[in-house]
Symmetry: C2
Subunit: 107 residues, 2 copies
Amino acid sequence: MSTERLKGHLDALLLAVLEPGPLHGYGVVEKLRSRSAGAFDLPSGTIYPALHRLERTGLITGDWSVHNGRRRRTYTITAAGRTYLASERTEWRGFAGVVDRVLEFPA
Amino acid sequence: MSTERLKGHLDALLLAVLEPGPLHGYGVVEKLRSRSAGAFDLPSGTIYPALHRLERTGLITGDWSVHNGRRRRTYTITAAGRTYLASERTEWRGFAGVVDRVLEFPA
DNA sequence: CCACTACCTGTAGCGTTTCTACGCATAGCC
DNA sequence: GGCTATGCGTAGAAACGCTACAGGTAGTGG
């Protein structure tokens, strides 16, 4: 599946992946891949700027740590992030419903 | 609903609107608005370039005519357009299903 | 007659977002 | 020594919908 379609929906997906608990960037990529059954296999050039954007806007926070000799930046969803995620879920349901209606039922 | 989310899905929606029969640009806007219950109210600056793109790639054809003294360009979906629309429908179902899975079921 | 609205098409330039293609580094295995 | 997995990151390009603008006809209300 072309990931170009993600446009505008990626932030919500990242927040959803971070919702159950903190993860570092590399882990986010893996979890997104596994949760989507391989469909969303995002390159690091997409994921890291996106995480930086979310951090800049206060939807997640990041902290450096060292794990097995490798430095990691672990991201945690904030209260604002959870609120935003909730609204994005509602938006998504609405959007998907309308697309379904327009796309699936020619009249 | 922010129409920014349309990114990557607009072509399919336009083809779906043209599927039952030919329409001119202005009519496409109206039909898309009515079929989406007002959610997709696209500005002409979005719709006309998109129609030109679809025509350029051979998914629709356009013909000039005059109606009540006003010139119109009427668009008709081509066989290639129908084929493309079918594949887009499949793609959309897959995409929406994956987003649902990632977004709605935190694990 | 004039203003306003609906109808109808179109272009120019902007901003956002994801992508590709790199670069850099450590750990572990063969 | 070379390869893979882990791990973070930037630069530049490409795509696409948006805003703002431009231009025109037909009909209606004052």
